[in-house]
């Protein structure tokens, strides 16, 4: 079966359950394609040999009751994986092999999935183009020298390029949804507290969430069902009743009220984004749902707020990478010298920039003006959503203000890079779930995404809306296999 890698997760699970395919067939197919895809640079570490062993073992005694029976899967290299190098895209963790497994990946393996390898990402998930990775750029399968987005760039490329059936990423300010949008796939950022953060290399603790990335909404729902769990090892994990998201998935969204926030019509937004949004509104209506104009008045403060809160937390979270206990260590004359050299050589420019911003906004004398104020604004942003959700069930916006850009295009302009997250960061600040689905192409033929934002813990609802819209949109990703050897 040469088209194994073109199959959706749902199809693969069905074919393995019906014994039309073995785990070995499937695993082999994805390994073969991954091996031919070196140009994408999607992997940091592969574990192909042992993946194949595990697949064979699975086939000897297949447990077909599992949700991901013998399904091979590569994951973002931000998830700690037992005995497999975990780098977070950084030189400072280049030699780090965890002795433990993140809860989210543990959930995946417990349902029968098999680790293919660890996917490239921006260093410590700080970036919107996957250009900050110590392990080099990731190419987008969409076009040569196009960024796949970030920080889950390797994950997006791997799913769009069919190197893995589905994957998981992490999303602190848009790191799942923006690359999903750039590569024509589906990406869900769950409600804060839905997926455990235990064992995920931390970027900004109050914003980080793991989430699924997939070819379609149904696959996304299935994977989300597997990874979302209450975890006492994460104090911010929330014990709420989780749905059987894939089973309960329906395209019936008749009567749903979808909010259209006027503040997301930003200055200088390309016309094709506006057109896409209008098309989205039409799809919603075609599905029998209603759209309502709403206001989220503090939207314009979201980006500056995010770029205070996230670096502040990061500056503290990354203090542990000091060369003392694990990871990279540079030789120094004394302790301070060792710290300085280790962190100067071990961290890349973007990470250093954010550590400096974070250190600055937390320092005494600036704390009130920056960090404290940002926390207050964050509350206002959350209140905006609470207010809106009195009137609507979900909110529709574009995922990003533009389509994917070329590698190197924004490297020297961090602010324009940060603007990529303008539609995604409010969702993280408010702790809400948001999903990006592919909804069309721009003039260059690059994918464009729409974002559906839900109420807290209401993943089922936005998955349903996405599912219904997906049917109407009937998006086809234009993958030419340009990179295949």
């Amino acid at each position: 079966m040469s088209d194994i890698t073109k199959q959706s997760l749902t199809q693969l699970v069905e074919n393995i359950k019906n014994k039309k395919l073995s785990s070995t067939d499937v695993t082999k197919a994805f390994i073969d394609r991954s091996e031919k895809s070196e140009k994408l640079n999607a992997y940091i570490t592969n574990d192909f040999t042992s993946a194949l062993d595990k697949a064979k073992k699975f086939d000897q005694k297949p447990n077909l009751d599992l949700k991901l029976p013998g399904i091979p899967m590569a994951v973002k290299d931000l998830f700690c994986t037992k005995d497999i190098k975990t780098t977070a895209g950084s030189k400072i963790l280049n030699n780090f092999v965890p002795t433990y497994e993140s809860t989210v990946t543990e959930n995946i393996w417990n349902e029968g999935a098999i680790l293919l390898g660890k996917l490239n990402c921006d260093e410590f998930a700080m970036g919107s183009s996957n250009e900050t990775s110590f392990f080099g750029n990731v190419q987008s399968p969409i076009d040569k020298n196009l960024v796949p987005g970030g920080s889950s760039g390797g994950s997006a490329s791997a799913v769009a390029g069919q190197l893995t059936p589905v994957t998981i990423g992490t999303d602190t300010g848009g790191s799942i949804r923006q690359p999903a949008s750039f590569t024509g796939i589906v990406g869900l950022k769950p409600t804060y507290g839905s997926c455990s953060r235990y064992g995920i290399v931390a970027f900004a603790s109050s914003l980080d969430q793991a989430g699924p990335m997939a070819q379609n909404v149904k696959d996304c729902a299935l994977l989300h069902e597997v990874i979302s769990s209450y975890d006492p090892k994460d104090s911010t994990s929330i014990d709420f009743k989780r749905n059987h998201y894939s089973k309960e998935l329906t395209n019936n969204i008749k009567g749903k009220k979808i909010g259209i926030p006027k503040e997301y019509r930003v200055d200088g937004m390309p016309k094709e984004i506006e057109d896409l949004w209008q098309k989205g509104i039409q799809y919603i209506k075609d599905c029998g749902a209603e759209t309502i104009d709403i206001s989220l008045p503090n939207t314009s403060y979201a980006l500056p707020t995010y770029y205070i809160v996230a670096p502040a937390e990061a500056s503290s979270n990354l203090a542990r990478y000091d060369g003392v206990k694990y990871g990279f260590r540079a030789k120094g004359e004394n302790l301070i010298d060792m710290y300085e050299k280790t962190r100067s050589e071990g961290f890349g420019a973007e990470v250093q920039r954010r550590i400096m911003i974070g250190t600055y906004v937390l320092s005494s004398g600036y704390y009130d003006a920056y960090y404290l104020k940002a926390q207050k604004v964050r509350k206002l942003i959350k209140n905006d959503f609470d207010e809106a959700y009195k009137k609507v069930d979900a909110i529709l916006t574009p995922s990003t203000p533009s389509s994917a850009f070329k590698i190197g295009e924004k490297t020297n302009d961090p602010v324009s890079m940060y603007l990529n997250d303008i539609f995604t960061v409010p969702v993280n600040l408010a702790g809400l779930p948001g999903i990006s689905i592919p909804a069309g192409h721009d003039a260059k033929g690059y994918p464009l995404g729409l974002q559906i934002i839900g109420k807290a813990f209401d993943e089922q609802n936005i998955l349903n809306i996405a599912y219904a819209m997906e049917e109407k949109i009937n998006f086809k990703n234009k993958i030419t296999d340009w990179w295949i050897k």
């Binding site: 090892k233 994460d234 104090s235 911010t236 500056s315 203090a319 694990y326 704390y367």
Partner: protein, 491 residues
């Protein structure tokens, strides 16, 4: 230095200075596991054997609050008559050091778990109230060991993440003696509560000492210096003496005192500057996003209140009322929970016809002397409370004299022997048979006729001679009271 009216003042020429002291006591929470991890907290374990992935700050590891430590902190707050805050927040205190794996210490900055409270000290010239500013929970750091290797520093993370209570006093202390009393009182309260073992040798209790001086009768505080991490009461007192005099000397010379952090050098008996205010760390405190605010209900606090044992102040009051003890005696007995326990057990075992004063005298006299000489705690006493009570009863009911009791007590020490048996086996029972004693005394008077006559003629001093002879003749076993009575009659 003058100690008029127990006031501690520093004198220079015409000026007198008052010393103002505030303490930040770090008390290790008595708990099997750490504040945010399940690692053990045993003292003296092999280096790095009580370290979890959380304690060593591995990537992706997250803190989870240990509820027991929260309960311990609240109980301590109740013991300090303090306000318990139903909502408190854990903050990160950021700084780099090799034995601080996270690069920050999780502590409580703006919203501590315990607010204002007070502690009563018994000073020679009366009671003194010391205000408690706050108590908060925080993690301990690991230990850097610099002297194992000339080139390298070794790090032991066993302490990393161990729960500490930082108890901050108001600047209410005025002398080294008050500091001594304050630390002992805190230690006593926490040992009663079982929230801290108070073992200063093992570092379970240490303090940062804030010292300033001001002219006597001044209302304004002087500039303070903080002496970091002093781990014995004696060193605290020495450090305060040195530091207060240093500050007074500066003022007398017309110089100003710099607000700074100082270290106490125990070998040279002096404090020296560690870092000035300008070099002070900017800890960049902010709420730890890995932890939700700590919220406790009224019910939770009420349940803990039920667990609070009788504390030293109440116990003292009761001892004075119930056992008619003096304030001084009661203080000695209640200050250490184990002494109080021993005493109360002795009282219980003595039964109905008991002599509590006698028991107190024997505990604070003979027993303390033995414990002192053997370097033992009262919890390790070689004489059990049960046998001790029997001994006191033997004295009380006249079976043995106080003098013989001392002999018996010495024999009891080896193997916690039953004093009753010792008395029987060694035939130490007091002779209280009046007839036998009369015969014995008759013989002595007969043998010493001349002295008897002298006595009758007014040489009353000789009475002691006859008592001595009688005791000697009885082998020390005669009931001295009876001897007295019979002698008076016969002479």
């Amino acid at each position: 230095m003058s100690k008029k009216d127990s006031e501690y003042l520093i004198n220079r020429k015409d000026n007198q200075y008052e010393v103002v002291i505030g303490l930040e006591v770090h008390a290790q929470v008595l708990s099997e596991s750490k504040l945010f991890s399940t690692s053990a907290t045993k003292f003296g374990a092999e280096p790095n054997t009580q370290v979890s992935l959380v304690d060593a700050a591995f990537p992706g590891m997250l803190p989870v609050i240990n509820e027991f430590c929260v309960k311990q902190a609240i109980k301590t707050g109740i013991g300090l008559n303090a306000k318990i805050n139903k909502r408190s927040v854990f903050d990160r205190k950021n700084y780099f050091y090799a034995d601080l794996p996270q690069g920050y210490q999780i502590s409580q900055f703006k919203d501590p778990i315990v607010g204002e409270g007070k502690v009563i000290l018994d000073m020679p010239n009366g009671q003194k109230e010391v205000g408690i500013e706050r108590l908060h929970l925080e993690q301990d750091a690991g230990k850097s060991i610099h002297d194992l290797d000339p080139q390298n520093t070794f790090v032991d993370l066993n302490r990393s993440g161990v729960a500490l209570m930082e108890i901050v006093s108001k600047p209410d202390l005025r002398s080294p003696d008050e500091v001594n009393a304050y630390i002992k009182k805190l230690r006593s309260i926490m040992r009663y509560l079982g929230t801290c073992d108070g073992n200063m040798q093992e570092g379970s209790l240490r303090a940062d000492v804030n010292v300033s001086v001001r002219p006597k009768d001044s209302k304004e505080f002087g500039t303070r210096c903080e002496i970091k991490n002093v781990n014995s009461i004696k060193f605290m007192q020495m450090a305060i003496e040195y530091e207060a005099n240093r500050q007074v000397d500066l003022i007398e010379e017309g110089k100003t005192i710099d607000q700074e952090t100082r270290l106490f050098d125990t070998k040279k008996n002096e404090t020296r500057s560690m870092r000035s205010k300008e070099d002070a760390h900017d800890y960049r405190y902010f709420p730890d996003p890995d932890l939700l605010p700590l919220e406790v209900s009224e019910k939770f606090i009420e349940e803990l209140k039920k667990d609070i044992p009788e504390l030293p102040d109440d116990k003292k009051k009761r001892f004075i009322e119930e056992f008619k003890l003096s304030s001084y005696e009661a203080n000695i007995l209640v200050s250490d929970i184990d002494t109080a326990k021993y005493f109360e057990e002795v009282v219980a075992k003595m039964g109905k016809n008991k002599d509590i004063k006698l028991a107190v005298n024997w505990i604070t006299g003979e027993l303390f002397a033995v414990l002192n000489s053997k370097g033992l705690e009262i919890s390790e006493s070689p004489v059990s409370a049960k046998n001790f009570a029997i001994l006191i009863n033997l004295i009380k009911n006249g079976t043995i004299s106080g003098k013989i009791a001392k002999t018996v007590f010495e024999l009891m020490i080896d193997g916690d022997k039953d004093p009753q048996k010792i008395v029987e086996e060694k035939g130490l029972k007091q002779q209280s048979d009046p007839k036998a004693l009369e015969a014995l005394i008759d013989k002595i008077i007969n043998d010493n006729r001349e002295k008897a006559i002298e006595y009758k003629q007014g040489k009353e001093k000789l009475f002691g001679f006859f008592v001595g002879q009688a005791m000697k003749a009885s082998g020390g076993k005669a009931n001295p009271q009876l001897i007295n009575e019979i002698l008076k009659k016969k002479l």
